[in-house]
Symmetry: C2
Subunit: 244 residues, 2 copies
């Protein structure tokens, strides 16, 4: 009996935004594993399945558990919200399978990323070149994150910020704003999206100059415009130059 691991990106959460290939993989799984918040969202769709949920910062343990379940013949889906390959579980899962010299096959099914779903609610802020950046320094040294914020400003990139602020990590966003203000005007449009396509969805437009005062937490996606970003009819749009 050959087990299997499938990394599944479940998009923003609502089943209308999960692609058919991902739904099919979940349907065909013996066990669906993942971070407990995302498992709760998926449970309602597949009430008859077996689930294995775990807490935050338990990523390695979660992957080891998934591998052990697959090694004994289970078809296991490991879910990430958004896309499994963007700050999701795909990388660490591949690492652990290789490290253990396992021959369990691993498939990755892409999903609609948090940046993409947030952008669609705001308008079209990512129409041209952009940077995807996490402000969490749990896995990336803060000095490197600082360098990346500067590079984003230097290149006049729009910026999609993940993990902008947590309960204990509150200054990073302020520092990012201060750095970007060296390159962009205070009136640069900024979009803030919480719970995209889910109950309690919030979509707020503000500016880079006002971003420090905004209501932002760990589950918020923040999109900061570049020098070509405007608010048109209430929508945030980064102009790509078609009209020139």
């Amino acid at each position: 009996m050959q087990g299997k691991i499938t990394l599944v990106g479940t998009g923003p959460g609502d089943k209308d935004y999960i692609c058919p290939r991902a739904l099919q993989a979940l349907e065909q799984s013996d066990i669906i594993a993942g971070y407990k918040t995302y498992i709760e969202l998926i449970k309602t769709l597949f009430p008859e399945k077996q689930f294995a949920s775990s807490g935050m910062k338990k990523e390695v343990d979660r992957c080891v558990e998934v591998l052990e379940l697959a090694e004994v013949g289970n078809v296991v889906s490991l879910i990430s919200s958004g896309d499994a390959g963007i700050y999701g579980m795909a990388g660490i899962m591949l690492e652990i399978v290789a490290e253990r010299q396992s021959e369990v096959p691993v498939d990755i099914i892409p999903g609609i990323s948090a940046a993409t779903s947030a952008a669609s609610l705001l308008g079209a802020p990512l129409m041209n070149d952009f940077v995807t950046l996490s402000l969490s320094d749990l896995l990336t040294p803060w000095e490197l994150i600082l360098k990346r914020i500067r590079a984003a400003g230097e290149g006049d990139f729009a910026v999609a910020l993940y993990n902008p602020r947590s309960k204990t990590r509150i200054k990073q966003l302020d520092t990012a704003v201060d750095i970007l203000l060296q390159y962009q005007k205070p009136e640069t449009p900024v979009g803030i999206v919480k719970q995209a396509m889910r109950e309690g969805q919030q979509v707020v437009l503000t500016t880079l100059g006002e971003l420090k005062n905004a209501d932002v937490d760990m589950l918020t996606t923040v999109i900061i415009g570049n020098s070509q970003t405007q608010v048109i009819n209430g929508k945030m749009v980064t102009i790509r130059g078609y009209r020139l």
Copy 2:
């Protein structure tokens, strides 16, 4: 009779990667409009629909046509491959609706982006911060693109390259490689994906030092790793630091 415009991201092309909300919007449309290559892909799914296809570089005309069709009461879907908000039709459509002071409602349904689907086939190369960059200088000045390539190197970002090379624009990719080689080693892993999730799919792993010699065209997505990217068991993975 109120018309409506829906921007629909159709993902890599195969219907298994189009989210249910997008399929529903296409199903409910009177007319589906878009660039002819993408319309051909969608036509097979909705053979009974009315289609309006147009050529490349006709983006403005296409949007004006869509708006005029919606103004007289049609429900029109305008499709982009991947996500409509990433080098797609969302921005220019919102601009034209505003410019004409139209009150036709515009909805945007996100899709799985080309970078995301390519990444899922390669492994997990976009696991940490990355830059999404188009090498086409039709809509962005080449000087600005150069600055952005340098910024990508400076920030040790992985890079998802769109429009890496066309029949007439062949030097840009070579220049990008030369610049990135000032920051990254020649053995930095690079993934090349053509026709993701479609007939004729090609997935190739190479290195930054060899990228100039690779078979790359306008419909190829190129993902260049950063200093933390490795090839593990044949998969391209950007390590995010979980194991430290």
